[in-house]
Symmetry: C2
Subunit: 500 residues, 2 copies
């Protein structure tokens, strides 16, 4: 890949345009994605976000960029939205009667397990909010020094109105400060900040608050928005390439990040802002109150009233990638069933492809056929270059899979291709499935049930052979099973087997 | 389990005696284990340590204690032992030409993957050294305030001689300060500390040092010993129950931890100090310079000159647990082969046990037989109560497995047991293998190769049936494979199969 050519285009939410992606310091790319708040099981919307950015991370590397992917873990400061804004971690720790860091650890582990199941690559750095308290205090000091924050009674707030007048607030979300002021609720006496729009950089800890650190303003804890400004700039610099996250984080979280970054460093942080869209179930918004929200584990097992059955993690990953990350993704049993069939078609063609071997024959080569295969291979790149359009890429792979199956069935002559074209077909299909889309061949990994089923067949044939005194077959089965270390035991009740 | 009875005894390295384990605040138990320095692949000695404490963690919980298990990740401050003492993380980061935190992340992920393979439970809290800089600065301040440290040119050192005079140094390792002074090398000009024995609590960062934080003494980074004092007491309190780690950490690391804890909190930290012993290979110390040190992955694949072949992770885990954690563990191909055979014997008996079902018959019950089974079950508990003696526990499980196989083969009548005894046998065998020793049945998880082997047998039988015009057999195979979604394709060259 020639990195001088920057062929990737991304839809940049801050300019609301599709732009050519030009890294600040090519071939290096810095990408920050907002990670989970680890106070409960990771939800499916998060998984979609992380699968989407996993493919973006994979493709940028495949394209030739050297990517530093940073994704944080939020273990402090993320407040609940109810009136008595409580820290989500602390609330869960109280419920579970454990130390808050035990809650964080438990759900961090859960998060990692789920993303491992969905074959997401780990980021290069996964910084933790409580691991960067010192840096958060320093950024708060810098924002205070720049005049965009004020301290009241041990807490420090960002002064949104002042920042808006001098620099401008709302660029990412397109919201106007007048409208925002008109629409904020007046929560009397709850907080002593000057203006409802202002947000906490540092919060004073009540006596009963467990997570607390010493600061120049007394004991307290950092505000939620601050950690992402701190950790993105610490590991990627004040001015980096990509910032990603779920659409729901655009406002206020990302808007506040930009304000903090500009106040502290004069830079906006990222140049390209990418957001993944929300999930729906049978056309309705997925939400707790509607009872139609299932966890990743429930989708895998099928153990949820909305689901007819479960789906393998790779089928779910494939299903997610069939929709572009910036579109709403609708879950339904029908759509998942269809995705499962499609996924296995793709995998079967993949197996067929890797069994094919070409003996080139110049007399049989067909220029039109070669051109078409080359065009389809090129199209896989083009669709990924077009704002990482995995939906289009999958469509192109399906066109290739029809070719592959035709070569395999003999309906098309494999010899119509020359060696470079066939090699390109193999490389493209393999790479886009495995390296770029990060799909694994699920059926290859199963084993257990299939093994039991096959052994049942063999033991039934053996039984029949013995009844028919066909000792040749029954001896053959015994010897062949022996070489596989399978030991068969005949007892009165049943014949059983085990592996030695 | 009656928690009023504290029946567990542990060998306490600080008293050099086997003592009854009485938690400070029963049923709660706090346990801290020194985790890895994440600058390269985790080595096998570390895996042995973490497998050992995993079993201790499992057994304490099985016994009924509520355990908070804290195991740290060292990502800063661990200096190399050569003359120009360099931070291990930074050295590796330079070699890899990446940011130090990328090195930490890469090897933290590797570490987690390896422990996952060996079926170690994650600790309740896994704190990171760089995530506790503020707390390390605070403890340094406390030690300075207590008069046991001094600052020179932006670094802070612990004053070992002064501490020794006033409180006493060397209790854990049994070393005398006079001998230590006589034996330390004089590294001229390398550090400006007062005494060679003194160790850094905080080190000034050179201009080229990448990992640096602001502190009251200028920009720098914490000393290695400090993090464990800080993180153990932060999450377990100044006075907690168990501190574990490899024998090589006893001095100076754990000795320095105790000194820091006493200087800052007046407590020694842990009451019980447990150390795992070292590894040898064919009787020789495992070491880089001897070329006989293999990584966990190499032991699994067998890809190392010293190894004849590879072993499954569960076989290795079982092999490790066959030796008491405080004894030297010697690796050899013969010992590993023997362990593999023993492991599969244990697993086979486990499978047999779970297939047995008892129809109680009062006439056939045998008091002596029941007493023996009950005694062996009790012995499993007793051996774990005796300083977590997994070697003895495994020996007891083997005695039980001989019983189980005899019941299974009909050499002993299962009906000689009454229902409670049989239930106890099943519960004990299941629990000790699965819950306490943390072993999984490795052969159950394979699948892939076995499936291929079984399909080969079936396809050969099918081929022979077709040649013999035995359509019954060939149709049966087709139909049965259909129900398993296995599709067979006959082509000129070969017959292939796939799962739909």
């Amino acid at each position: 890949m020639l990195l001088m050519e920057h062929l990737i285009k991304v839809y940049n939410n801050i300019s609301r345009k599709k732009e050519t992606f030009v890294p600040i310091n090519s071939p290096f790319v810095g990408m920050y994605v907002c990670g989970p708040t680890v106070y409960n099981d990771v939800h499916l919307g998060n998984v979609r976000t992380f699968v989407s950015f996993d493919v973006i991370y994979r493709y940028l590397q495949y394209y030739g960029y050297k990517v530093r992917y940073v994704r944080n873990i939020t273990d402090v400061g993320h407040l609940t939205e109810d009136e008595n804004a409580e820290d989500k971690m602390l609330k869960q720790a109280k419920l579970m009667q454990v130390e808050p860091m035990e809650v964080a650890q438990l759900y961090t582990n859960n998060f990692h397990e789920v993303l491992y199941l969905f074959n997401c690559l780990p980021p290069n750095i996964e910084p933790i909010a409580t691991g960067h308290i010192l840096e958060q205090i320093e950024m708060t000091q810098a924002i205070l020094a720049a005049g965009f924050a004020y301290e009241i009674d041990g807490s420090v707030y960002f002064d949104v109105e002042k920042f808006n007048k001098k620099v401008g607030y709302g660029k990412l979300s397109g919201r106007k400060i007048e409208d925002l002021i008109a629409n904020t609720r007046d929560l009397d006496g709850q907080e002593n900040k000057r203006n409802n729009l202002d947000f906490a950089l540092w919060k004073k800890a009540n006596p009963e608050h467990l997570m607390r650190w010493k600061s120049p303003w007394g004991e307290g804890f950092p505000g939620w928005h601050l950690e992402c400004s701190v950790m993105s700039t610490k590991y990627l610099g004040a001015n980096f390439d990509i910032h990603g996250g779920g659409m729901d984080l655009k406002f206020p979280h990302h808007e506040c990040e930009i304000a903090q970054n500009q106040a502290a460093t004069h830079y906006e942080g990222a140049r390209y802002w990418l957001h993944t869209n929300m999930l729906t179930v049978n056309g309705q918004k997925m939400s707790k109150s509607l009872g139609n929200g299932f966890l990743p584990a429930e989708l895998i097992t099928g153990d949820h009233p909305v689901l007819e059955r479960g789906y393998a993690p790779m089928v779910i990953r494939f299903f997610m990638l069939q929709t572009h990350y910036s579109s709403t993704l609708d879950f339904s049993n029908e759509a998942l069933d269809a995705a499962e069939k499609a996924y296995f078609r793709l995998m079967n063609a993949w197996e067929n492809l890797n069994k094919l071997s070409l003996t080139p024959n110049a007399n049989l080569q067909d220029a039109a056929e070669m051109e078409e295969v080359n065009r389809l291979c090129e199209a896989c790149h083009q669709s990924m270059n077009d704002d990482f359009n995995t939906a289009m890429t999958i469509a192109n792979l399906f066109e290739l899979s029809r070719k592959i199956n035709a070569y395999n069935d003999g309906k098309l002559a494999l010899e119509s291709l020359d060696e470079p074209t066939f090699a390109r077909l193999q490389a493209t299909y393999n790479d886009f499935i495995q390296v770029v889309l990060g799909l694994k061949n699920e059926q290859k990994e199963q084993g257990g049930k299939l093994t039991d089923g096959l052994m049942d067949i063999i033991l039934d044939i053996r039984k029949a052979a013995r009844e028919n005194k066909d000792w040749t077959t029954s001896d053959l089965i015994r010897d062949r099973l022996n070489t596989l270390n399978v030991v068969v035991k005949d007892a009165k009740e049943a014949t059983t087997w085990s592996v030695n």
